[in-house]
């Protein structure tokens, strides 16, 4: 079943040159895809190719310059009021810049509870416990629930963002570089968490990432973006095994690998 | 888009000024604190009051008076009849009930004084306020910070009037480092001119400087905690540049807002300071006209002050979009 469908999404930015010259820039150009219930759609691609912009549009944080957006079969392109609230309850976002997306004046506890409070969920009493539980889930020390964002490391802040998105049992989580600042072991934990939630509660993900290895692990389908367009979209296996587009192929070729010789030696030692 | 925005705002200014006129007129018309009685003084008879009202045009219906006033501004108007007829050219604000002077002339004569007071004080309070606030923020928690901020609080608790008199007593009477302020033009004697305006500047600037110092401090402290300040320091910029460019700019946005409002309001006259120091500015004119119920002058002062404040606000909004690139102009 299709959870979310985007069609012809376009975003143009207007900027001004030094002489007041008006310049238009199409950041996202006629992008269309769908996300099915319980699946992970990974979006990979060039830096600056419009991934975050697309994510913002499908999260309804930015109005598209063109195109339509459907959620659970309902057109939400111009949703307002109750329809928008319903959409928000089901779609959560993890932002690319961890610190900027956390209110510097709120404690972690408050940040984590914000979605619950805003959506009027859960009784007040259990919220604090809930916050601590969320922190534990993403590998943070729950004793730090009264700290402010500035007192955390980059990776910790990113995990706060993830925990926040998971606070309300959404149907769709849009993860914009959600695990990029995590070391591999924590990353593995978080990815495992996401996958378990998908298995158990049927979460869907739009997973934007650069780390193709991670994408490989988590994605059902992969969309490859370049210069504002989707150049390739298909099942993960197929895209990784048999890339059709030139850009995809370049991308896959550029993935850095650890010297296999070192790997082998280590394996032997242990 | 910018041009359209500005034009739209200016149209708004006209509407607001019109409303201010109307409201003021209605207020004084309905309140009926009869200026004729004031002029008539003692041994006054009802006939004489009536006669004075007639001369001043107060016996006419509201609309006639209001339209006459508006007409005067845009097209000029005639007063009196026969040999007494005078034409008041546009923009005509009428004649003072008390002194018969053309209100426009009065305003034109006094505005430079108020502007001098306002500009001098503004320079002073911006320099002192922002510098003190910045220094306090950088030295947060030190004795300097505590002393400066304590002084700033104290300074804003002292009424201007007290400060003015005390300053005059100390500097002029006791220490004799300054003369009593005199009405001297800059071209006549720059030194005396400066000495005469120094105290008004200081008095007027004190309250604002205190507010600005505290605001600057609070905002700079907030900004210093931002990550981009760390970046600025990592670049090895001079502390002056780091502070001026990176810390002050975000802190200045609220200050720019209130500065626009404060300064514009001051052009409409600093009532108390001008009175204490005998400066013949718009503020003193306002005080006198209120005390004497001189309606044409009150109208003029109101309009003048309104004009500056509204224009000031437009400028503030324009500056704002410049100060923070993330803020986009919203067209009306």
């Amino acid at each position: 079943m299709t959870l979310l469908r985007a069609e012809g999404l376009t975003k143009r930015f207007v900027s001004r040159g030094p002489l007041g010259a008006r310049a238009e820039f199409t950041a996202v150009d006629q992008v269309g895809f769908e996300v099915r219930l319980g699946e992970t759609l990974a979006v990979v691609g060039e830096s600056g190719s419009g991934k975050s912009t697309t994510a913002r549009m499908i999260a309804k944080l930015m109005d598209p310059s063109g195109g339509t957006l459907e959620f659970e079969g309902e057109d939400v392109t111009h949703a307002r009021g109750a329809a928008l609230a319903r959409f928000r309850a089901n779609v959560q976002v993890v932002f690319q810049d961890p610190f900027s997306s956390l209110n510097p004046r709120h404690t972690v506890e408050r940040i984590l509870m914000a979605p619950l409070v805003y959506q009027g969920l859960a009784p007040k009493g259990s919220r604090r416990e809930h916050a601590k539980e969320l922190m534990e889930r993403v590998g943070l020390n729950p004793d730090h629930s009264l700290r402010y964002p500035a007192q955390f490391s980059g990776g910790q802040a990113q995990r706060i963002g993830i925990a926040r998105a998971l606070a309300v049992n959404p149907k769709l989580v849009i993860c914009d570089e959600a695990v990029s600042a995590l070391d591999v072991s924590v990353q593995a934990q978080v990815i495992e968490l996401l996958r378990r939630l998908q298995r158990e509660s049927g979460f869907s993900y739009v997973f934007i990432a650069h780390d193709l290895a991670v994408v490989r692990q988590i994605a059902h389908r992969v969309a490859v973006m370049s210069k504002g367009r989707i150049v390739e979209l298909g099942p993960a296996e197929q895209v990784f095994r048999d890339p059709q587009d030139e850009y995809t192929r370049t991308l896959l070729a550029a993935v850095p690998r650890i010297d296999p010789e070192w790997d082998r030696r280590r394996r032997e030692r242990s | 888009m910018m041009a359209r925005y500005v034009i739209g705002r200016l149209a708004g200014v006209v509407v607001i000024l019109f409303l201010v006129c109307l409201f003021t007129f209605v207020l004084f018309f309905t309140l009926q604190p009869d200026p004729a009685v004031m002029i008539c003084g003692k041994t006054c008879t009802p006939e004489r009051i009536d006669q004075i009202r007639d001369v001043l045009g107060l016996n006419q219906p509201f609309l006639t008076q209001f339209l006459g006033f508006l007409g005067g501004i845009f097209a000029g108007r005639d007063y009196g009849e026969g040999a007494n007829l005078v034409h008041c050219a546009a923009p005509c604000l009428g004649y003072s009930f008390q002194t018969n002077q053309s209100v426009m002339d009065m305003v034109v004569e006094r505005l430079p004084v108020s502007a001098t007071v306002a500009i001098g004080a503004a320079v002073l309070w911006l320099l002192v306020g922002i510098a003190a606030g910045l220094l306090s923020a950088v030295k947060e928690g030190t004795w300097w910070d505590r002393t400066a901020m304590g002084l700033a609080l104290g300074g804003s608790s002292i009424p201007n009037y007290v400060l003015a008199l005390a300053l005059q007593y100390v500097l002029v009477v006791q220490l004799q480092v300054l003369p009593f302020p005199q009405a001297v033009a800059f071209s006549d004697d720059p030194v005396v001119w400066f000495q005469s305006y120094l105290m008004p500047w200081i008095v007027l600037a004190t309250g604002y400087a205190c507010l600005y110092a505290r605001l600057t401090r609070a905002n700079v402290i907030d900004t210093l905690a931002e990550n981009f300040m760390r970046t600025a320091r990592s670049k090895g910029l001079s502390p002056a540049l780091t502070m001026r460019r990176h810390a002050l700019r975000p802190a200045l946005t609220p200050i720019a807002t209130i500065f626009g409002m404060d300064f514009a309001a001051l052009l409409g006259g600093a009532l108390i300071t001008e009175t204490v120091f005998g400066l013949n500015g718009v503020g003193k004119m306002a005080a006198d006209s209120i005390a004497k119920n001189d309606q044409p002058v009150i109208m003029a002062v109101t309009l003048l002050a309104a004009f500056f404040v509204v224009i000031g606000n437009v400028l503030v909004d324009l500056v704002y979009t410049r100060l923070d690139p993330r803020v986009r102009i919203t067209t009306p």
């Binding site: 990776g155 070391d183 692990q217 | -």
Partner: protein
């Protein structure tokens, strides 16, 4: 290989309501000229704090002990004034969170220029030219136009590249890069790594490279420092650390690397 940077027994302490907490505990390592030292480790293990300590930019209230020597001169305990001359010129840093680390009130052009001019002087125009070139070098399309953009007009990866361009503009002797390529796709990442390598070759820049991407480390670092909970758990040449890790944590880390070639079961 003469030593550019020597860090000895570095400890960083934060006061908290529950008493002081050491977030970096006795870390030691050296960086030679045109050498790359990779720092990897757990999230929150003190990597960023270590680099901030070197730059002398720790948050207010943090205390340090140990020794940090750049070109043989002790940095700890030096006045901000003296450090200022070194920062940006002799040592530069790429910060982890680019959006909040760039001043939203100014164009990126100005932010690069001012750094260049603070150390090299020259006219605004010349500095502008340098900025455009720097942006071009890190692979930003249309640098002439983008130089007038404000930070919020860039994508995450582009901002990261702006940060790198800025750090490199004075060709520092020591570059500390705190997760500089996390938001970059692999092709751009490769371009940046090549750029850094070239710089190292040309001006002998010493590089401290913090990342989670062990593959990247393995390809560029000569020595690797592994951190966990503020402690240094392993320090050695890349080959040694990757091929013969001493510590369980390092092994665990290496074992959990996701591999693109692995079979995945979803």
């Amino acid at each position: 290989m003469s030593e550019l940077l020597v860090v000895e027994d570095l400890t960083v302490t934060f006061p908290t309501t529950r008493g002081p907490v050491d977030v970096v505990k006795g870390v030691s390592f050296t960086v030679g000229r045109d050498e790359t030292v990779g720092i990897v480790g757990e999230s929150g293990s003190g990597k960023s704090m270590t680099s901030l300590a070197i730059m002398g930019l720790l948050p207010k209230g943090a205390r340090t002990s140990g020794s940090i020597r750049l070109d043989g001169a002790e940095l700890l305990g030096r006045s901000d004034r003296e450090l200022r001359k070194l920062r940006g010129d002799r040592m530069s840093m790429v910060f982890q969170d680019p959006l909040s680390s760039l001043n939203p009130y100014y164009t990126v052009g100005l932010q690069i220029e001012e750094m260049y001019r603070a150390h090299r002087g020259g006219s605004r125009k010349a500095a502008r030219q340098v900025a455009v070139e720097a942006l071009g070098r890190v692979g930003l399309p249309e640098p002439e136009r983008r130089v007038n953009y404000y930070p919020h007009q860039f994508s995450g990866g582009q901002r990261q590249r702006v940060m790198i361009a800025m750090a490199l503009v004075c060709e520092p002797a020591l570059l500390i890069a705190d997760e500089p390529t996390t938001a970059l796709d692999v092709t751009v990442q490769a371009q940046i790594l090549r750029l850094l390598a070239a710089l190292q070759r040309e001006s002998g820049t010493g590089l401290v490279f913090i990342t989670h991407d062990l593959a990247v480390i393995s390809s560029i670092a000569t020595r690797v420092l592994v951190m966990r909970r503020g402690e240094q758990v392993e320090y050695g040449t890349a080959e040694q650390v990757f091929a013969e890790p001493e510590h369980d944590y390092t092994r665990m880390l290496l074992d959990s690397i996701p591999r693109i070639d692995d079979e995945v079961v979803l």
